[in-house]
Subunit: 597 residues, 2 copies
């Protein structure tokens, strides 16, 4: 069975040494987040994920969820007990609003803990993960009464949440939604329709499930301008605020799918269910989009999470599996063969994953901190810049970390040879589970289009220019550093490719939008490489500074410097190929008539 | 449920127009392979795969194989009937030796039919596929008596075959094999040991199963120099040559695995089973290796096969799924949304798969024809050159077409959005099934090492120099062609990168072997791109020549030219990144101590 160890020290290196959490001390809730408290929280979270949640990952995959004839759903063995421990530990409430029972700590901590949870057991992590989404939506758009009715229950973990967007004929294109809402005399609505792919739609972990449902109020305008968001609880709150009468919503079936078997992915049937408008009528999509950055960042973290746990297990296997001899002569002559970690091609795979994970985690922490600034800073200029950063980097993190996370899981599986294909080793589950983050919460092609079509040009390109400035400033500040020089040269080349790509869109995509669409995925990955490169630059700089300081064994910093070098030598050169594809434009893509495919 | 249509016309284009099968007419068996006969065989094979074998692919995956308490194994519903139709049609015998009941036709036809079979149902195709392997081994190394005893039964499909190499502690490194063979007075051996990952190890399709087993004769030298190959039939042939007494070999369990659920992957227990030495004692590995090229080429074809069927279904979905509007304005204004094939990013995915599949198929056909020349030509010089080609290109085809085949299946799945993750749509099965060809028959890292460590330098680099000459000749012959010029420029750049890489190994890997290992996978993929590029060059040239000839609708040739352009603009630029990684060398890979990972 695979194992998992939460990378707490890696996280602390980022929080304390690279990004300096104490610099954010003026934000609400950050003053409480002392280094000691943060370390203690992460250690406790690590313990829970390692000892309670990871051990039911493989068994959960094999057992799956069971829907009973009455429409109820049972989660796999051990999930209910683990969920109870999770809620008793207060893990849902870490960064929630103290007014509703939360601890008010930085949201960044929740993001980090979500990485650990996702590594340990992606299926399990989705149940509270969806509660976080419902919490955010109601917190942002609910009336005071709605907040008081739902948030304390969600924060306590007594009730969980879901997001209901997709219908059979309607995924990305939410304007096609048919689920209808009929106004009642008391201000509520009767919701009717069918939603599919509803994660955690029905289960036995909580006393109630709060469904957030996109629907069309009768007579609303066509398309996206006529979509509203509703709260549809499985049980209607009674006079005491507890789960009361059963509402007209039920799970029609659970999907047979490639992975995340322990999460119940439901077809949800709404049959004149009582719903309550959340936010303004016909502004449902806007309400959804305000939460989208957090949700998409969270999915990017899932890609990182699976890549990390797959990496850890591949390393263990590579150290233990004896097969063949090193090209340079036996390294373990006393044994029948050398451990396969002596082989350069095995190391190529491990170093690739490692280089992406460590920089990916840095990018996530950096961006989450910006998210906290955007949400909590009272300095408008600072909040605006942070919001720009968050909006620009979110599709990059979601698209790039999930694409690479999947590739990395596949690579880690490859280290196992034939054993990687066998269920009991657990690697093939990581691959199957890592496939879904590339798809849900906006398929990665949609992330790329969001980046190129919406984020790049927003406010006259303000966000991307600020990003270029950050890279430029870093390069300038470290220009004289001989040890960093080859890395900076590589980063500089990557930045130049990214700038050329952005310029090419300016010159070629405004008049011909297909040129933007044709280059969008390559642009997203090109951007990702430069952003990850900036993270490696920052980490390498700190590693150089801290080496010999005695804070940690120097081996920690040496490993950072080697991995940084690997990244710049081996992964950054890909920017050129991305640029070449972008500059090739749309012609060869659009030339064939549909029937010629 | 996914559908499949065998690409017969694509194959005929390659056989007749690009590679001119008639030019091989002097080889034994080729004179019979008239264009009409070949077309008829492929049409019949297409019909069988489309109507009989593809329809049991999804159900076979869901049902899987069942091992019963007595060790017997049942294949999924419909497999036995399909296998009977397959053998009655004489499909195993197409290119087999007429002396043993074969039709003696080009082996290339078998390779092509294996593509269709693999697309339709990879699990199913493996049962007769392993028989082909056993046939080849016994045909090459058996005594006349052994050939007469086993080959007619295998060719008729009455008996099937298996290959038994892997043991729990021993995959790539076959020198570690422990299965032992004890000589008996009658010249036979008693075989004892455990083999794992034995595809088609036990099933209900045939009357007998002929296991080929690597084992160590008692007292043999250590390591690979002490391995012998044995024939161990499930039932010993009786006096009439039929399946007689039960032998001491049985299936201990079947593996739970990621994909190919309908193929029984067995743990095989040998308990003093009677075995017959095949070929010379202690030369078992050499005997295995002589078949390896055919087997590895066959696995490369599996990558192509899954990529092709995944592509076909993604195209259908992209034409039918209505979602969003084209960036350039509505293309289906009468409908609620446009089909997603209007979106450039969807086309990027489809064009990528298509560009790889068509060139991959060309590379397979070209190389298979060289394999036929190597096996059948009486001109020694010609046979040697063909053997060089086959030996050099085989690891490229195996490694590159299976890596890309998997990536393509993932991309095709991505076109489906959320539906791609749901079992009933069938796309996730293609992804799971496409994962194993990257691993078995030598994991792709081993292919890369075989290419760089063994094939590149063999006979003073004769094979690679011949390959470079072929590319050079093609470039020279077409130098004046204005329509091909941009493509040739791209091919030339790719060739230059490949030459630089080969040169870099010459200068840097002889003194430091880790530099070869560190660049091997990139070299394999760089080689693959240049080889696929040569194929696109040849196909584009033929398309230009044939356009307007009336042989086919011009749309066929137009599509070839557009796809060729796409390949050279979008896929070939990757060669530069591969070269950069190769030239980075082994330093950053080998620097970390194993415990620092």
């Amino acid at each position: 069975m695979p194992a998992y160890k939460a990378p707490v020290d890696e996280t602390l290196f980022l929080i304390n040494d690279v990004f300096g959490l104490e610099r954010y001390g003026n934000l609400p809730g950050f003053a409480d987040a002392t280094p000691d408290l943060v370390a203690a929280i992460l250690e406790e979270g690590a313990k829970l994920t390692e000892e309670t949640i990871a051990p039911i990952n493989l068994s959960g995959d094999q057992e799956g969820c069971t829907r009973h004839e009455d429409g109820s759903v049972t989660t796999p063995k051990g999930f209910k007990e683990a969920y109870d421990l999770y809620t008793e530990g207060g893990w849902i409430s870490v960064s929630a609003d103290p007014e509703y029972g939360g601890q008010g700590l930085p949201h960044t901590l929740t993001v980090i803990l979500n990485e650990y949870m996702g590594s340990a057991n992606l299926s399990f992590s989705m149940y509270p993960g969806l509660s976080q989404g419902a919490y955010a939506a109601i917190h942002a758009h609910g009336t005071d009464e709605q907040k008081r009715a739902y948030l304390p229950k969600i924060v306590a973990g007594e009730w969980t949440g879901t997001m209901n967007l997709t219908e059979p004929h309607c995924g990305t294109d939410l304007g096609l939604i048919r689920t209808k809402a009929v106004p009642e005399a008391d201000g509520s609505y009767k919701i009717s329709g069918t939603k599919i792919f509803i994660s955690a739609g029905e289960h036995d972990l909580s006393k109630n499930i709060v469904h957030l449902v996109l629907a069309r109020i009768e007579g609303a305008p066509e398309g996206t301008a006529g979509i509203s968001l509703f709260i549809v609880p499985k049980f209607l709150p009674d006079a005491n605020g507890d789960a009361g009468a059963r509402n007209g919503v039920s799970c029609g079936s659970i999907e047979e799918k490639m992975g995340i078997h322990a999460n119940s992915t439901c077809v949800m049937n709404y049959d004149e269910a009582t719903g309550f408008l959340l936010g303004e009528a016909n502004k449902g999509l806007r309400a959804m989009f305000t939460m989208m950055n957090h949700a998409r960042l969270g999915v990017g973290v899932q890609g990182l999470a699976l890549s990390e746990v797959a990496y850890q297990n591949a390393v263990t296997y590579a150290r233990e599996r004896l097969q063949g001899r090193a090209l340079t002569g036996a390294k373990a002559p006393d044994k029948a063969a050398d451990p396969i970690i002596v082989h350069p091609d095995v190391r190529r795979m491990l170093m690739t994953i490692r280089a992406i994970n460590e920089a990916g985690r840095a990018l996530v922490v950096w961006t989450s901190l910006q998210g906290d600034v955007a949400d909590r800073s009272i300095d408008e200029k600072e909040a605006e810049a942070a919001e720009d950063h968050m909006a620009l980097l979110t599709p990059v993190i979601k698209g790039v970390l999930t694409d690479l996370g999947f590739q990395n899981a596949v690579m880690a599986q490859q280290v196992y040879g034939g054993h990687g294909f066998i269920a009991e080793w657990g690697m093939e589950q990581f691959v199957r589970d890592a496939r879904i983050p590339m798809i849900y919460e906006g398929a990665n092609g949609i992330q790329a289009l969001d980046l190129v079509g919406r984020k790049l040009g927003a406010n006259g390109g303000r966000a991307i220019m600020a990003f270029f400035k950050q890279v430029g400033r870093f390069l300038k500040e470290n220009a004289g550093n001989a040890e960093l020089a080859p890395m900076l040269k590589s980063l500089e080349a990557g930045r130049a490719d990214l700038e050329k790509a952005a310029m090419w869109f300016m010159q070629n995509a405004l008049t011909r939008p297909d040129n933007a669409g044709a280059g969008s995925t390559d642009f997203m990955h090109l951007f990702g490489l430069v952003a990850l490169g900036l993270m490696w630059g920052k980490m390498a700089r700190v590693a150089l500074d801290k080496k010999g300081s005695g804070d940690r064994a120097d081996a920690f910093y040496d490993a950072k410097l080697v991995t940084a070098r690997f990244f710049f030598e081996r992964l950054m050169p890909e920017t050129r190929a991305h640029l070449a594809r972008i500059e090739a434009g749309a012609d060869s893509l659009m030339a064939l008539p549909a029937e010629a495919f």
